[in-house]
Symmetry: C2
Subunit: 290 residues, 2 copies
């Protein structure tokens, strides 16, 4: 059954970017659109947890997903309310369960993620004994996803300076979230999954930016068995992927990729000669604005 995309970026949403004037290399006046970056303070019940800098399109998914990925909101938690105050730039997630995460909130880890993400508590907590389920990963899907994600209209293509994370199924991008912070983008996916209760064992997570330990941990915690990126790896990211049995695909560009973990899921069904070498026009951080 072929899925169709559920949620894609809306670059025409004018609240997400702002026109700014300046000078170009010739001293001529130019006007470009730049992405907005706003604080959002996230509360869990009465406890202030963190302030996230975000483009502000999906505060609820961001709050729910952040809390899930920090292990402060549990998979079976009953959320009794989500109160977003646009003026105060705060959002309160309320649960039936009483919560108190003083200690967890204190233990901060600055990770290498592309997008500041405070990782409370022991980063490896929750991965103990975790083994991701078997799954099929056809290389034809990787190429199809790569191509679509690079060409779909997005804030990135409009205004740059942004990261994206896409929840995919086979060759279809289903939920494509963007944000100034890549960790926000992945947290929004987690928030969407929490809200909508979709199965995850058959999903692929595609992300821009690097496959660091934090990205691998979040993907594993979300129960998704495949993580792919056009960017590179860190050693610890690879180690953790191997530990939890995650299929880790990096340097996915044009006809190429490198798989450093979970190779057993791969089915090499693509006719590589039919895959175009990387189209420079669609290269991230490239000619889209030149």
């Amino acid at each position: 059954m072929t899925r169709t995309p559920i949620l894609l970026p809306d670059p025409s949403d004018e609240t997400l970017t702002r026109p700014v004037s300046g000078r170009d290399q010739n001293g001529n006046e130019v006007q470009i659109r730049v992405v907005e970056e706003r604080p959002l303070t996230i509360f869990l019940n009465s406890q202030e947890i963190v302030t996230a800098m975000t483009i502000g399109d999906y505060p609820e998914y961001l709050a729910l997903g952040f809390l899930r990925n920090q292990g402060m909101l549990l998979a079976d938690d009953q959320v009794t309310g989500v109160d977003y105050d646009d003026d105060l730039e705060t959002i309160v997630v309320r649960t039936a369960r009483e919560t108190s995460y003083e200690e967890k909130v204190k233990k901060k880890t600055r990770t290498s993620g592309c997008a500041v993400g405070t990782v409370f508590g022991d980063m490896m907590e929750g991965l103990e004994g975790l083994k991701l389920p078997p799954a099929e990963l056809r290389t034809s899907w990787l190429y199809a996803l790569s191509k679509q994600i690079n060409t779909l209209p997005s804030l990135y293509l409009e205004a740059g300076a942004i990261h994206g994370t896409v929840l995919c199924e086979q060759h279809t991008p289903l939920v494509y979230m963007e944000d100034v912070g890549r960790h926000n983008a992945v947290d929004k996916i987690a928030g969407w999954l929490f809200r909508h209760g979709a199965p995850v064992e058959d999903k692929i997570l595609y992300t821009t930016g690097r496959l660091t330990s934090e990205m691998v941990i979040k993907t594993a915690q979300m129960g998704i068995p495949v993580l792919a990126s056009r960017s590179g790896f860190t050693a610890w990211g690879v180690e953790i992927a191997q530990q939890v049995g995650l299929t880790l695909i990096g340097r996915l560009r044009g006809q190429r990729f490198v798989c450093l973990s979970g190779e057993e899921r791969l089915i090499y069904d693509a006719d590589i000669t039919a895959v175009a070498p990387e189209n420079r026009k669609h290269r991230r951080k490239s000619a889209a604005h030149d």
Copy 2:
């Protein structure tokens, strides 16, 4: 007086990367080098502040710079000792002044920086009334720096998945720091400046990654009047730059750039026709590994 580089990346340092085996798109075994990512727990006197994920090349500069950029180490603080324990992966910075930052440590902000950076306390604190000094910025310097930084041997060109921040003077890269986290890279620069007491009013900070609010704030706090990147901007980054009078140059690629703040420092002395259009070979996240 022409300066010469002081500190450049050492991609031959084998502790910074690790060889890992995997499969390529044809199912053939490949071996690539991936960057290391290790935790470093930073203490200020007896107080644990944060754990940073880093490649681990300059723990002292990272600790000093992080604390400076968080406003926990002051410009005139006397550092009485820096104790680095490689086994425990901790570093303790000791000061003559008694310190206690419980409240500051509690107030965390997840910013959009490319590299998780916890920004304790009020992000805008310390920018009150700050105005950066006048300075000359010749466009010929921007092009020369861009070219050199893209071609110098670096961990990025070796193993990818890394960010760099370079302290420059006129057309010379002086101190080039890399790390898995861009915020670590800029904090290492701040740590170097703190240790060596160099003047900053005549410096340029070049960074990979985006010109977010956090990057602009750190540059301003360091007293450096020019910040340049090949990447794009966020709206708040531009606003803060305008507030403190920082010259903000983005989308610096080949012959082009956009200046969205502090245009008055620019002197258009470059002969643009003599500047090569962007050489695709030196494009970040591009063909270097293909």
